[in-house]
Amino acid sequence: MSKILIRGAKVLGGEPQDVLIDGETIAEVGNGLSAEGATVVEADGKILLPGLVDLHTHLREPGREDSETVLTGTRAAASGGFTAVFAMANTFPVADTAGVVEQVWRLGKESGYCDVQPIGAVTVGLEGKQLSELGAMHDSAAGVTVFSDDGKCVDDAVIMRRALEYVKAFGGVVAQHAQEPRLTEGAQMNEGIVSAELGLGGWPSVAEESIIARDVLLAEHVGSRVHICHLSTAGSVEIVRWAKSRGIDVTAEVTPHHLLLTDELVRSYNPVYKVNPPLRTERDVLALREALADGTIDIVATDHAPHPHEDKDCEWAAAAMGMVGLETALSVVQQTMVETGLLDWAGVAERMSVKPARIGSLEGHGRPIAAGEPANLTLVDSAYRGVVDPAGFASRSRNTPYEGRELPGRVTHTFLRGRATVVDGKLA
């Protein structure tokens, strides 16, 4: 097997060290390691992280291959430094059977750019009425442990309670898209000062917070763990903080865009800023950053949501909700968390690799950078500054809110089990 020597990398942002990869495994970490027989990657002070793990990716296949496929989505993931992604279940057909999750899992294997762990739908057809065959999906080759109706909320309290209980049998977790449906009928953007002026239907914070409050109490009552997708409000942070202080087994994610962007951008009526949950206010953004720093929010997840151009090149109300995020996630986290002094690189690794792998029970990812561990690694040039140009994306879709914006940092190398998927910033 081939050897790769990464020379002079700041492991988790620490002092420069050499990391020797032998085959699929990290063979040695130290100083002055021999390059004999190895391909040398001069890290030159770049940051070395464990391969990033995204707990929330929409790969769109099967069904919407016009916006993304497993292949293009995993290429985008590798470009962004990810070595594993969890594929959301809202495909066509919905990933609510062993057959569909195995199909996605197999497509992931064939892509070779990063590991694809399918998420199974909690309810049949995401309709919130009848539980999917959760056990069958878990027992399938795909080995599903994360279940979510993401895109829709499991709003029926009894169905949610049963799902939380049922997946305990095999160590599963329900990832809730917290959105009270009646409070968000016709919702187009965050309800507040901007929506009042623009005359767009409001998506109130309380529609998210009330579901989170209910679900942490349900999780406590039945002794289950629950994961909250894309938490977006200051009030949600308070509820999760309270739940954790009470010992409730809750984890939560925040997206990069909710760490950076606010609903003021909607004044342009440009649907590239249309996303669910919606962009909130500056106050929410600051609360989310603080919560990610103090551990109230456990992880960053992209909610990478590709859409074809025609679904965004239209009037606001007609546009699809969602943003691509895999290829800009780490840069946004660097800008909002590292360069603000809220997190160091070890903290970034914890929130973008270690914990998402743990929440999703994903083996072989989010591991320490140490001898004997799988060589899933990401090398980041944190000194880089560049303007986002979606034309250069590996994703099939271009619906990024960061076009033309300068963001720091760039993934120069990604290694999936010792094999380079990205070299010098380009897909291998």
């Binding site: 187009q188 309800e191 507040g192 000062i193 901007v194 929506s195 009042a196 002026e197 623009l198 005359g199 767009l200 239907g201 409001g202 109130p204 342009s268 009526y269 440009n270 025609e310 090149d313 239209c314 009037e315 606001w316 109300a317 007609a318």
Partner: protein, 333 residues
């Protein structure tokens, strides 16, 4: 003035006064035996209506025709739009046909903004009502009506509405008329009070430059004009208010309530009125109600807007448009 009229907030005080003054000039044309000016001859105005609105459409049509523009009415019903053609493709089609101005009515808030700012068309865009966002020409004709009634037809020239107290009553949450009026009336120096049940006031209204009250009776004696908004009966099904009768009792304007207004104060309504709901027949048909006058003023005001956007300050454009027009005529032969 800006190139488009998307929001009443786009207008400065001087812009707005200029439009109102120009509208007075236009109104004089309506008093002549021949109600037509040659100003926009050879220019094409497209009325692009994605939502039914006969009243607003014919008002714009009359305005454009009195200025001698060619008018194309494009209604979404029975057109390719209802077959799934996008706003963008419709816009590109109109652009190819050489529209100098597009007057757009759309059910989606922000559609005129997108039309004006997405590079799809070059012509001027006039917002004729978008979703629950804005309806700036309605606000202009309302301001025109108020200035005439409260300041005077001749005395009003060059004047704004400083110090006038305007009350807007009804479904503010879903009203584009209310949003545009709050912007424009404030710009013109008026003090605006919104009156509605709390369910029909948007969250976030606190940042608007106006007062909010839930008590109509307390506000009426302090009002120079009271604008009644149309309230859709279906709103009670979404629990915005319990019943029509309760709404009428608390927020409807009847003869008794009108008597609480100062003698000079007027009652306004953008139409169409729900008689018996937000306004009784007694009030609607009284001399103090300006609803019909507002319709007439709408034509003058829209003439002023089209004139100022298309011809008022750029004679050079008229020349080039005429050239283009000739070329097109050649093609057609």
């Amino acid at each position: 003035m800006k190139r488009h009229l998307i929001s009443a907030a786009d207008l400065t005080r001087d812009d707005a006064v200029l439009i109102l003054d120009t509208a007075e000039e236009m109104a004089r044309v309506a008093d002549r035996p021949i109600k037509k000016l040659p100003t926009l001859r050879g220019r094409t105005v497209v009325n692009l209506f994605f939502e039914d609105s006969t009243r607003t459409r014919i008002s714009f049509e009359a305005a454009a025709k009195r200025l001698s523009a060619d008018v194309i009415n494009f209604s979404a019903k029975g057109s390719s739009v209802s077959k799934g053609e996008s706003l963008k493709d419709t816009a590109l089609t109109l652009e190819a046909m050489g529209a100098d101005a597009v007057v757009i009515r759309h059910h989606a808030s922000g559609a005129p903004y997108r039309l004006a700012n997405s590079g799809w068309i070059d012509g001027a865009v006039v917002n004729a009502g978008d979703g629950t966002h804005e309806h700036p020409t309605q606000a202009l004709l309302d301001a025109f009506t108020m200035r005439r009634r409260l300041v005077g037809r001749d005395a009003g020239i060059g004047q704004d509405l400083s110090g006038r107290r305007i009350t807007i009553v009804g479904d503010v949450l879903h009203s584009r008329v209310a949003r545009s009026n709050v912007h424009l009336l404030t710009t013109l120096g008026a003090e605006v009070t919104l009156v509605a049940p709390p369910t029909l006031v948007p969250v976030g209204v606190g940042s608007w430059p106006c007062e909010v009250s839930y008590d109509l009776d307390a506000v009426l004696p302090k009002s120079d004009a009271v604008m009644m908004l149309r309230v859709q009966r279906e709103r009670m099904n979404a629990a915005f208010f319990p019943t029509e009768r309760e709404y009428s009792r608390r927020y409807g304007l009847d003869g008794d309530r009108m008597a609480k207004m100062p003698e000079h104060a007027v009652v306004m309504h953008p139409g169409p009125m729900n008689r018996g709901m937000e306004i009784t027949a007694e009030v609607a048909d009284s001399d103090r109600c300006t609803a019909v006058e507002q319709v007439a003023n709408g034509v003058s005001t829209r003439m002023a807007v089209l004139y100022l956007l298309l011809g008022g300050s750029e004679p050079a454009v008229t020349t080039s448009a005429a050239t283009t027009n000739n070329a097109r005529t050649e093609e057609n032969k």
